[in-house]
């Protein structure tokens, strides 16, 4: 397929426009965040005297240290548990071919398009009855469950690619299902498990609705959830608000840049698997 660069030119121009479009809102926050505090910034402009200490002030104002800890705790509560139980369930449905497994899978599939809004009111009541309101455990448990449909779907798609001879050989060798999963299937599923962990890290870290409903104290929330309180406090201080919001975004952006190749692969696969 040879397309000359000249033919590609319109495409390249549009692509560059799309790239600029993606980054401009972040650049405009950055330019506002570097203006002297108490001034009213205008649009995008490189400040004559960039005030880097604004980020220090915003770090303290937005309580970023606490939030990093809190978000990490929530992620650590959700991701490993979710990866483990979804892998086990997908293994049972796909490789062990359990009776009525299809029904279980359909039940989970129905959850794929479920708007979270449908669950928040009863969840609030339910978590309240369990005495877990305003407690991270009360957010972790529903988040594991709400992410299950996607996670099981993802792992099932992986298990369907495992050659049947392999799983049968494991069965014939008399290795129990548990051993076969641990010693044969888990090592093979490495890349699929890693991508799933990345995607669920992202959706947990960015979770907003459930967080603001189930957790009142901003410092116990996810980073995204904490933004609500921060906006409430600093809505008129454009400089600090933008600096704080950038800091709140920074961790996901850093993780994304570090693991960029894996992320791109996971996001593209995650969208088209199935």
């Amino acid at each position: 397929m040879q397309t000359t660069t000249r033919q590609q030119l319109p495409g390249i121009v549009l692509m560059i426009a799309a790239m600029l479009f993606s980054i401009i809102p972040l650049l405009s926050m950055f330019s506002a965040a570097l203006q002297p505090q108490g001034t009213v910034p205008v649009g995008i402009s490189w400040p004559a005297d960039p005030q880097w200490h604004n980020f220090v002030d915003a770090w303290n104002a937005a309580n970023i240290t606490t939030l990093l800890g809190s978000s990490s705790l929530i992620v650590l509560g959700v991701v490993p548990a979710l990866v483990i139980i979804s892998t086990m369930a997908a293994y049972a449905i796909t490789i062990l071919n359990i009776p009525l497994g299809r029904i279980l899978f359909l039940l989970l599939l129905a959850g794929l398009t479920l708007p979270f809004e449908l669950t928040i009111i009863p969840l609030y009541q339910q978590i309240q009855d369990m005495g877990l309101l305003n407690n991270r455990v009360g957010l972790i448990l529903p988040l594991i469950a709400l992410n299950l449909p996607f996670a099981v779907f993802w792992m099932r798609a992986h298990f369907l690619t495992v050659p049947q001879e392999l799983s049968e050989a494991a069965g014939v060798d008399g290795a129990g299902s548990w051993n076969a999963l641990r010693h044969i299937h888990i090592p093979l599923a490495g890349p699929a498990l890693a991508s799933l962990a990345l995607l669920t890290f992202l959706s947990t870290w960015n979770q907003f609705l459930l967080t603001i409903v189930l957790i009142q104290d901003a410092e116990k929330r996810t980073m995204a959830g904490a933004l609500q309180a921060f906006v409430g406090q600093y809505s008129t201080d454009v400089v600090l608000l933008n600096a704080g919001a950038l800091l709140i975004m920074a961790p996901v952006i850093v993780v994304f840049l570090l693991l960029q190749r894996h992320f791109v692969k996971a996001l593209l696969q995650g969208a088209t698997k199935g």
Partner: protein, 315 residues
């Protein structure tokens, strides 16, 4: 994207592939197959307690008038009647559908145009940069995107700065405070969230189309538009289906972006079902009505997304 899931797959609602038939000669006893259920129990229990039960409760609550504390009164379908007759509530559903134009139509068309024109990204550095930048809107929290755009749209923000610089001074305004413009402005945040993802997905899909198909079309004298219609679009069915599905769900169930940028205002001009459910449930204490609206929203998503799966069924 309500970053509920960066990925909802085209499998949702699609017909399932047959579960793998095991070859005769290797059939474990029925008993052994049932023991496999132990592996599925943890997932099933979590799902039953924290998804199925709340969904069932939502449906139940939707038939009552309840403030969340006191006694509840059975009102039958009354809440549903209100959802479908109260102009304010109907307007939230209308707004959600209006958002589809911005969340879905614009990003998919833009992505398609870029992908069709470029076909593949030449140059390693350019490709890596493009991928990084185009994915950024997808990975930051939707809540943070709302803050970024609230500032973009403000009186002194970039949007007005840009308009002034091209001589459209008269067109500048406080976008999110304007009754006519707030909803399209919020919608445009959705355009920003989805365009990169759709572009990259469609480019990945185009990369998989066999080059000889284009060759053949060219030999038949097909021009660019004809090639797009006869080769690109059919070849991209699956990827298009995914983009359309994910972004429609994001539009209909939008919450973060609207909640933090406008709270549904000015007036109720940007009120969408997601924010209204939250407001009715946690501010107005009308749990029955909020639940009915939530049930209607979930059914709407299924009604819109379900048939689409058939349209985009695999080639």
């Amino acid at each position: 994207m309500t970053s509920t899931n960066t990925a909802v797959t085209s499998g949702a609602g699609a017909r399932l592939p047959r579960s793998r038939k095991r070859r005769a000669g290797f059939s474990r006893s029925q008993g052994a197959r049932w023991t496999g259920w132990w592996f599925a129990v943890p997932a099933l229990v979590m799902y039953a307690v924290f998804v199925i039960r709340p969904v069932a409760s939502s449906v139940q609550i939707s038939f009552y008038d309840w403030d969340g504390f006191g006694p509840s009164t059975w009102v039958g379908l009354d809440n549903y009647r209100r959802v479908f007759t109260d102009p304010e509530l109907l307007a939230t559903i209308g707004n959600a559908f209006f958002l589809i134009i911005f969340f879905t139509a614009v990003p998919v068309v833009m992505g398609l145009i870029i992908a069709a024109l470029m076909r593949e990204i030449k140059g390693r550095v350019f490709g890596a940069t493009a991928r990084t930048l185009l994915f950024l809107p997808q990975i930051i929290p939707g809540a943070a995107a709302a803050i970024a755009w609230t500032w973009m749209y403000s009186r002194d923000g970039v949007v007005n700065q840009f308009l002034s610089s091209i001589g459209l001074e008269s067109f500048t305004r406080a976008w999110l405070g304007d009754f006519d413009w707030a909803l399209p402005a919020v919608g445009f945040i959705g355009t920003w969230l989805s365009t990169g993802l759709c572009t990259l997905l469609l480019m990945a899909g185009i990369g998989k189309i066999d080059g000889s198909l284009y060759e053949a079309a060219r030999l038949d004298g097909a021009n660019f538009l004809q090639q797009t219609r006869s080769v690109t679009l059919p070849g991209l069915k699956q990827e298009l289906g995914v983009c359309v599905t994910i972004t429609i769900i994001a539009a209909l169930a939008a919450f973060d972006v609207v909640f933090l940028s406008t709270q549904g205002g000015p007036g109720r001009s940007t009120m969408v079902p997601g924010v209204e459910i939250y407001r009715l449930g946690f501010v107005e204490n009308q749990l029955g009505l909020a639940s009915a609206l939530a049930v209607v929203l979930a059914i709407l998503v299924l009604l819109v997304v379900g048939p689409l799966q058939r349209v985009f069924k695999e080639r």
